[in-house]
Amino acid sequence: MRYLCLIYDEEKKFAAMSKGESDAFMGEYFGFTEDIKKSGHYVGGNALQPVHTATSVRVRSGKMSTTDGPFAETKEQLGGYYLIEAKDLNDALQIAAKIPSAKTGTVEVRPIQEYN
């Protein structure tokens, strides 16, 4: 079964890191990604640019409206995701717990809806 792991963390924490700290943090991410590729859990994943680059789109009564930024002001922002293949929720949670940002932010684990 596939699960999407949505990674929420405070952007300003990352922005405040020194060069050495952010290198170490990225190193952890590369290591983690390598590990789940080897274990066969990895399907895909990406980091996102900061929320100030986000744009929200809505269509109401056939009319498109475009607004700057995400919908809500929250402390933690969506910063990236992994799509993983896992046996069940326990397996997925074990993987999610190893995502480096789980130590500082929150990882939301959502099963993918399969249509067949």
Partner: protein, 448 residues
């Protein structure tokens, strides 16, 4: 749960009765089997059928079949195995019938039929007991909401009806039903596995299970609001769950929790008089249940074997020290303060600190206790906690500081939600004028 139903080797004691049982007797046997076996059969059917609702339907069908066939054919040698077989067979049959309208069910039926094709009679006791444990851990999975964990456990593991659960928790049956439906949907859709956690996950997952059990117990022991002080049925269910866990998974903290529940339960008859609260120091100790105390003490000794001892074991040890005192004035307060010190180190919280302060007030006097309580309140912790104010009031009363005592009792009364506790605080306020009586106000259930 009952050792007598676990010890046999595949042949149920019921089997020997089959030859000479009349119709009415068979009805009684079926009732009995339902009471002792239905939760076990359900736990196994959930594993075999991979779905809670399908398993419940199969359980129902299996008992319907028993009512039909046992009076005619006799009670099978192993009713449990018979029921699992019948339930599984009927579930697959039902899927096949529905497959005429939904082709995907045909594949599922074939898959279920292929799995575990071995006769159910071959399944050992151990596998069946593992199924019960799988059910407990699934119902108490941390990915489910805490309220839903409690409701699902009482429904599936204990077999309570939705109405019974709703009544016990003073909620609408509709709300409970909704929680259970949502929880089952999450188990199915997010694929929460039906398994006992791995060794490395076990401590955390067991904590979650014990939390559910203790929550159920406390809800029964000291109902959080309403007119009655205790709701016996829930405490009984929690103790049954505790025994089941100790039976299936004798971990020290499971043993500690069972000990704690038994020791608290032992004081039930003495805790209230005509619906009014009777504090630990004023209780008639001849009303304490000695059998429960003896069992609780034995279990505490077992639970304290690990280093450091877990929080349930330490709380049980505190309850055991109280149980050991022939009269309130013989209580070994030094040992109790020492145990609270241990608890503070392993599982500290402001409430534990407050309980320790109250024990210090008994060991060293009210002035020492009051200083500690005031320090906790000054930090801003427990300002909204009824028992912090009543403990402060009690120390002030014993020191003769009547006005301060009155203010603190009044604050406690504002925060108290339970009728018997409110009456108790009102009596204390009335008594203040004459300053009679010497007592220690309760700090949560360990003092009651």
């Amino acid at each position: 749960m009952n050792s007598d139903t676990r010890s046999h080797d595949g042949r149920s004691p019921l089997g020997s009765q089959a030859a000479n049982t009349s119709g009415a007797d068979v009805g009684a046997v079926i009732d009995d089997v339902y009471r002792t076996e239905s939760r076990r059969v359900l736990a196994t059917l959930i594993r075999l059928l991979g779905d809670f609702d399908r398993a419940e339907e199969a359980l129902h069908d299996a008992f319907s079949a028993a009512v039909e066939q046992w009076p005619r054919d006799g009670v099978p040698a192993s009713p449990r195995a018979w029921l699992v077989s019948a339930g599984r067979f009927r579930a697959i049959d039902a899927l096949r019938r529905r497959a005429r309208f939904d082709a995907s069910l045909a594949a599922l039926a074939t898959q279920l039929e292929g799995q575990s094709a071995a006769p159910v009679e071959w399944i050992g006791e151990e596998t069946l007991e593992d199924d019960r444990l799988r059910l407990v851990f699934t119902c108490c999975h941390p990915a489910l909401q805490p309220d839903a964990q409690v409701a699902l456990t009482l429904r599936e593991v204990c077999g309570l009806t939705t109405e019974e659960i709703a009544h016990a928790f003073l909620t609408a049956p509709r709300t409970v039903a909704q929680r259970i439906v949502r929880a089952k949907a999450k188990i199915r859709d997010a694929r929460i596995p039906y398994q006992v956690p791995d060794r490395h996950e076990l401590p955390d997952r067991l904590d979650a299970v014990l939390r559910v059990v203790y929550l159920v117990f406390n809800e029964g022991y000291s109902a959080s609001s309403g007119a009655t002080l205790t709701r016996h049925d829930l405490s009984g269910e929690a103790i049954r769950l505790g025994r089941l866990l100790v039976d299936l998974l004798p971990e020290p903290e499971a043993t500690g929790l069972l000990a704690l529940m038994l020791l608290q339960e032992s004081r039930r008859a003495a805790r209230s008089l005509n619906g009014d609260v009777v504090l630990l120091d004023a209780q008639d100790r001849t009303l304490w249940d000695r059998a429960l105390i003896a069992e609780g003490v034995r279990l505490v000794e077992r639970a304290l074997g690990t280093r450091p001892p877990g929080p349930y074991a330490v709380q049980a040890a505190i309850a055991a020290v109280h149980a050991d005192a022939p009269a309130a004035e013989h209580t070994d307060w030094a040992q109790i303060v020492g145990l609270y010190d241990v608890l503070l180190r392993t599982d500290g919280s402001p409430v534990v600190e407050l309980n320790r302060a109250a024990a210090v007030a008994m060991l060293e006097g009210p002035a020492a206790g009051l200083a500690l309580i005031d320090a906790i309140l000054a930090r801003g912790d427990l300002q909204e906690y009824q028992f912090a104010h009543s403990a402060r009031a009690d120390c002030c009363r014993r020191l003769g500081r009547v006005e301060e005592a009155r203010t603190a009792y009044t604050r406690a009364l504002e925060l108290a939600r339970q009728e018997p506790e409110r009456r108790f605080l009102q009596r204390r306020l009335q008594d203040l004028a004459s300053l009679v009586g010497f007592g220690l106000w309760a700090l949560g259930s360990s003092w009651l």
